[in-house]
């Protein structure tokens, strides 16, 4: 009957729709170019990073227009396919890709992620794999190199580094009769009172994670963990550590630090508050220069060292590492590219776009090429890395949550740090 006649028509209709849809999107499962590589054909390495973060094209342009072409010219059998990933999403993308076994060959990863991905066997061990690993790593800053260490092996090499220095708005300072940025904790406290009259915050920061508070703890003479990274209790809650945080809490309670620091996403960001003279000082990295040049061309920031406390002026190491995945099918080629990242061709070219070099022997060349890095290079000499352990994100969460309570006044700084230390102890044991 009619029913029997119409059924095939509907199936056909559906088939047509599916085919049309797939044709429309113009893609019948394109093969990954890196999957098939013979000696005749050049191999293609996929490289994931976040260089193009925030619509800033300087770094991606340098990479695609000069650095990668230079490498490909020297190594005609290797092609590099760099893919830019949104900064906030790289971790999620790496995770899901690891779950599906669809990883790229190379990753420029945040220094905080390496131990975790090493523990998960996503990143490949480099010492013993890379022929000249010892020579290369000996020329890296120890603080940067340490971020690749997990279980006494190395799972990457430093790619770029940075640290936080004190950046000040001289207009804001001079409006309160202050001649120079605060060089010590004491100067910071006296400046706070003078600036309060002008309704300017003496200092602003956008969180209470390790990146934000460790400089104050270390400069106050405190510690975060024991040297072997096994314990936080007795270090994070030591009198010196407490004193460093207590100074910030006192300033916060007197209104000299805005509530941006406890995570108010509605507060003025430091990148806007400093040039607008709402904030007198911030701690931040070398990327800010380029951002301000674009948005606030008239603003002339002043750079100096982190205010010194009883422990000196000690900042925190940031940056990225270059890692090869265990899933890479072209390990020899990937290792070649990793070696290339440690040369002046890569390091100095990237330095010109705002990424600081990690190679010690290039120091003077870098300082000559990019004079603006001088305060950062100086600060890096004493800067320290955050504890490099797989549970690093959870440590940051624990610290931030407890310290927020201390800032809001529901807990004393001593209690907050003691509780945070106890939580972190648990995380460190879990990791080992």
């Amino acid at each position: 009957m009619a029913r029997c006649l119409t059924r095939p028509r509907a199936t056909k209709l559906l088939g047509v729709a599916v085919i049309a849809a797939i044709a429309l999107t113009g893609c019948s499962s394109s093969k990954k170019s890196s999957s098939a590589g013979t000696t005749a054909k050049p191999v293609t390495l996929t490289f994931w990073g976040t260089y193009g973060n925030g619509g800033n094209k300087a770094q991606t342009d340098a990479l695609s227009q000069s650095i990668i072409p230079a490498f490909e010219k020297a190594n005609p059998t290797i092609k590099i396919n760099y893919v830019d990933i949104p900064y906030d999403s790289l971790l999620q993308k790496l995770t899901t890709s690891a779950a599906g076994g669809q990883l790229p060959d190379l990753v420029r990863s945040d220094i905080g992620w390496v131990p975790k991905f090493a523990a998960l066997k996503v990143f490949a061990q480099l010492d013993g794999t890379l022929s000249n690993f010892d020579t290369l790593s000996a020329d890296n800053y120890p603080g940067s190199l340490a971020t690749n260490k997990y279980n006494s092996h190395y799972y990457g090499l430093p790619l770029d580094t940075n640290t936080r220095v004190l950046i000040s708005n001289s207009t804001a300072l001079s409006s309160a009769g202050i001649a120079a940025p605060p060089a010590t904790f004491d100067e910071l406290k006296t400046d706070a009172a003078k600036l309060a009259a002008k309704k300017v915050s003496v200092f602003a920061d956008s969180g209470l994670q390790g990146w934000n508070v460790y400089p104050w703890i270390w400069s106050a003479g405190g510690e975060v963990t024991s040297p072997d990274l096994s314990k936080a209790t007795g270090y994070l809650n030591s009198p010196s550590s407490v004193a460093g945080v207590q100074m910030l809490v006192d300033l916060y309670k007197s209104g000299a630090i805005p509530n941006l620091i406890i995570g108010n996403k509605g507060a003025i960001q430091t990148s806007d508050g400093l040039p607008k003279a709402k904030y007198a000082n911030i701690l931040d990295g070398p990327w800010m220069q380029a951002i301000w040049q674009g948005q606030y061309p008239k603003f002339a920031p002043v750079y100096s060292q982190v205010p010194a406390g009883p422990g000196g002026s000690i900042s925190v190491v940031g940056g990225e590492d270059i890692n090869m995945t265990t899933a890479s099918k072209h390990q020899a080629a990937a290792l070649k590219f990793i070696q290339f990242t440690q040369t002046a061709d890569y390091q100095i070219a990237m330095a010109k776009t705002g990424q600081m070099s990690v190679v010690k022997s290039l120091d003077s060349q870098e300082a000559a090429t990019v004079p603006a890095f001088a305060p950062y290079i100086k600060q890096l000499q004493t800067a320290r890395p955050r504890p490099s352990v797989p549970e690093a994100p959870a440590i940051d969460t624990a610290l931030q949550n407890e310290l927020t309570k201390a800032f809001q006044g529901s807990e004393s700084v001593q209690d907050a740090l003691t509780k945070a230390a106890a939580t972190i102890d648990g995380l460190l044991t879990k990791a080992s």
């Binding site: 797939i22 429309l24 999107t25 990954k32 973060n53 619509g55 999403s89 599906g100 003025i268 951002i291």
Partner: protein, 288 residues
């Protein structure tokens, strides 16, 4: 509405006038609240960063700049991403509407073993957080060879939209008088003819609603696109916009300019389909 002899009942007419104007006052206040944020966004998209978030707020940007739009459109291949989004959203909408209206027809008009349980299973799809399915789905997509392809976006967007669309359409199909279908059945029309020639045309308002929801859902989707797309030339708009959000500062003007470019097509789709919304459903079918 019944025609009331207006001249004979002046008091009633006044009351109606008053009621009408108060109605418009309420509606206008509501509409202003709805639209004001967009106006502010539009205005911000024409500002440079220096003039963002000032007190008092600037509604008319001064100095105005189209720099944000230029930057948004020229960064990478914004036009390409735009086209990708259009293709993916269209393919998803067509496929999803076809499949879910067929399912809805089965659920609304047939009694068969397992109907209740299958329908409940379908409802479960509305409730599970999409985020948690991402890892199993990614492994599945890899197995099906759909990684890094726009087909992979379409297939999974269709899968994710089936529950809501079927649920929505089933309700509307049930409201269509069964007598109309019986009459067609008497005339010898098979189920496919009835579905294609009677149910679908009568359910235009519901289909329009589903079209808008589905188009919107795939147009906006970020997490899945981020997960499976690797090649830059296959990116969709939400991925491109996410690349504008920096780690160290947010360029509000740029983000909003890019967003406005992304919002416009959706508004166009909505304007195209909105007139179907209000077409009488049962009234039109029975009386017309």
């Amino acid at each position: 509405m019944t025609a009331i002899p207006a001249l004979l009942r002046p008091s009633r007419r006044n009351r109606r006038l008053w009621r009408n104007s108060s109605r418009y006052i309420v509606l206008t206040v509501g509409a202003v609240i709805m639209v004001l944020p967009f106006i502010y966004m539009l205005s911000t998209s024409f500002k440079s960063q220096t003039y963002v978030l000032t007190i008092p707020p600037q509604f008319i940007p001064h100095p105005a700049t189209i720099g944000n739009y230029r930057d948004a459109w020229t960064t990478d291949s914004f036009a390409r991403y735009f086209l990708n989004s259009v293709l993916v959203a269209l393919a998803t909408t067509v496929l999803s509407l076809l499949l879910s209206s067929m399912m809805a027809y089965a659920f609304a008009r047939f009694r068969f073993p397992g109907r209740e349980i299958l329908f409940k299973l379908l409802l479960l799809g509305l409730m599970v957080p999409a985020m948690m399915l991402i890892i199993p789905q990614f492994i599945l997509a890899k197995y099906l060879g759909l990684i890094d392809s726009m087909a992979g976006l379409v297939v999974f967007y269709v899968g994710a939209s089936l529950s809501l669309n079927t649920f929505l359409l089933r309700g509307f199909f049930q409201a269509i008088p069964v007598e109309l279908e019986q009459a067609m059945q008497v005339d010898g029309a098979g189920s496919i003819t009835r579905y294609w020639r009677l149910i679908l045309p009568l359910a235009k308002p519901a289909l329009a609603t589903a079209t808008i929801f589905t188009f919107l859902g795939s147009w906006d989707e970020f997490a899945w696109a981020l997960t499976i797309i690797n090649t830059p030339s296959k990116r969709t708009l939400p991925l491109a916009i996410a690349l504008f959000q920096g780690q160290n500062s947010t360029l509000w003007g740029l983000v909003f300019a890019a967003s406005i470019i992304a919002v416009v097509p959706v508004i166009v789709v909505f304007l195209l389909f909105q007139r179907y919304f209000v077409q009488g459903l049962t009234a039109g079918a029975v009386k017309g």
